[in-house]
């Protein structure tokens, strides 16, 4: 079994730790921090406490806004790449994805430089003749969303491009031959057939955004919390590991649910197409 060493590694250092942290969610926090091994469901109830539920909803809203914006920017870009001359497509795609592989902290830090009150955005605005108060974008929700969209955009471009490039061009030609205009062909043929790619990219961005703690900490200035920051605080500041564990499991639950829905939607879409073909 060639796969055995990797499987053992993943079982020992990924599955086991995740199961352990899950088990911690069912115990009580000790008086001085640490774990008291008394079974309880309080930690999960705690997650639904209005105070924390609000952070969940807030995170979900930020993640959803990020996802929608990323898709709105990525789709035209992926479409333009798929329409570029064939020989140039791999290069365009490579340079679209290259920033994604550079350090996440550095990419986030670059936005501090740009959005700062003394930063380049305000410098540019005053250069254009803007006289009013400098915009203070840094340490706002807008800054967090800009940072998240920026960081995950390359992946969405990649995901959408991969479905666009696999699209049979004859389908579009057929639509045009049957009298549909370019816009109608896009809405009725191209877009529906590329929705699996949009969904894959979207789910990825949503999952990564909702659990993110670096971007809210740096671009939000730690002023408002997302679930990731809450998990971080429970483990490294409040020393309430059981509650932190329950929060982490809630994140995993959201992720699994979304991946499941996405897989269902994708197989449904391909099943439908096969059904039509037969």
């Amino acid at each position: 079994m060639l796969a055995a060493p990797a499987v053992l590694w993943l079982l020992a250092f990924m599955v086991m730790p995740c199961l352990l942290v899950l088990s911690y969610a069912f115990f009580q926090r000790g008086t001085w921090g640490g774990i008291e091994y008394t079974f309880t469901l309080d930690n999960f109830a705690h997650v639904f406490d209005p105070l924390y539920a609000k952070i969940f909803l807030n995170s979900a809203r930020i993640a959803l806004t990020t996802t929608v914006l990323a898709i709105l920017i990525a789709y035209p870009a992926a479409y333009a790449i798929s329409r570029a001359p064939r020989v140039r497509q791999p290069m365009l795609l490579f340079f679209a994805v290259l920033p994604f592989w550079s350090n996440y902290l550095i990419r986030t830090y670059a936005w501090i430089v740009l959005l700062n009150r003394e930063g380049l955005l305000n410098g540019f605005l005053s250069f254009l003749g803007y006289q009013g108060e400098p915009l203070s974008l840094l340490y706002t929700e807008t800054a967090v969303i800009i940072g998240l969209v920026y960081n995950y955009l390359p992946f969405v471009i990649l995901a959408i491009y991969s479905t666009l490039s696999r699209l049979n061009p004859e389908l579009m030609e057929a639509s045009r031959d049957l009298g549909a205009g370019a816009i109608r062909t896009f809405w009725r043929v191209t877009l529906p057939l590329t929705l699996p790619g949009v969904a894959a990219g979207g789910v990825f961005v949503f999952v990564l955004s909702i659990g993110n703690f670096v971007t809210p900490a740096l671009l939000g200035g730690g002023r408002f919390q997302m679930i990731g920051n809450l998990v971080y605080d429970q483990f490294l500041t409040a020393n309430d590991w059981p509650f932190g564990a329950a929060l982490g499991m809630a994140l995993i639950a959201i992720m699994v649910a979304l991946l499941f829905l996405q897989a269902r939607a994708t197989s449904h879409a391909s099943g439908e197409r096969q059904g039509e073909a037969t």
């Binding site: 590694w9 730790p17 550079s102 350090n103 830090y109 930063g119 990825f204 998990v231 982490g248």
Partner: protein
């Protein structure tokens, strides 16, 4: 054809805007790293002083050394494990959904969750944390990426040459080293370069598994604390170097992948 050319204009504008958005922040950082004053507001002349002061910063050099140690070991282990996993998965008679999920999971589990799980795990087992625990943790996601790169190559692999080799009397071992391995080598190196880049850049898991104290701090941890505790222009220089290393590794990785497809 002229009609087609006319249609390309909107696409070009879209690409120009999106690529501008993607590269402007990076370009600004690189420019600032060579700015005498180091402040974003004004350009006061070309200077390499921030690079010089980086070279004299023993804390950063120590972090860079740690990062290199972690990345090299994590890459070596994950390349071997990831390649074996890929071959194991592709040569199985039946597709196993459990195996697929296990290999795919490290790419999708939110890193904060994996980080706290590992912290919990090491503390439960009373394992002293340090560079070794970071290496161990980095292997988890590194091997997933190596596996996916090698698997992509195996999808185009003509297994009949393996059969031919066996028919001609070569043992399984000889066939692997003389036939399968040379064909896979470019993608294995490409996967290794990817793992190296990921390991150099990874922050959250390293942050949680490094343990207290500054002895096992890595570059991303150093960058994080530099950003949090006041921006010094040295960060721009450090960021530029780290990005240059990542970009070089990726260009190499891409080039190797391209070679093999042709």
């Amino acid at each position: 054809m002229s009609g087609m050319a006319k249609n390309r204009l909107p696409g070009r504008i879209v690409l120009l805007v999106v690529f501008g958005f993607l590269y402007l922040p990076i370009a600004v950082l690189v420019m600032l790293s060579f700015n005498e004053s180091g402040l974003p507001t004004s350009w006061s002349g070309f200077s390499t002083r921030w690079y010089v002061s980086l070279a004299g910063n023993s804390e950063i050099l120590h972090a860079a050394w740690n990062t290199l140690v972690v990345a090299i070991f994590a890459t070596l282990i994950s390349t071997v494990l990831g390649t074996l996993l890929a071959i194991g998965m592709e040569t199985r008679a039946r597709k196993s959904n459990g195996l697929e999920a296990l290999a795919f999971a490290p790419m999708v589990i939110p890193d904060i969750v994996l980080a706290v799980a590992l912290l919990t795990f090491f503390s439960r087992l009373n394992v002293a944390t340090g560079l070794h625990t970071i290496i161990l943790s980095h292997v988890i996601f590194d091997l997933a990426f190596v596996c996916s790169v090698v698997r992509a190559r195996l999808k185009h692999f003509d297994f009949s040459i393996v059969e031919a080799s066996r028919d001609l009397g070569a043992s399984g071992w000889t066939t692997f080293w003389r036939v399968t391995f040379p064909v896979l080598l470019p993608s294995i190196i490409a996967g290794a370069l990817l793992a190296f880049t990921l390991s150099v850049d990874e922050f959250i898991i390293a942050f949680f598994t490094a343990g207290p104290g500054r002895s096992s701090i890595t570059l991303p941890m150093q960058i994080y604390s530099m950003i949090r505790f006041g921006i010094t222009p040295e960060v721009n220089a450090l960021a530029t170097i780290v990005m240059a290393v990542s970009a070089t590794a990726l260009l190499l990785s891409q080039w190797l992948n391209k070679e093999q497809i042709q």
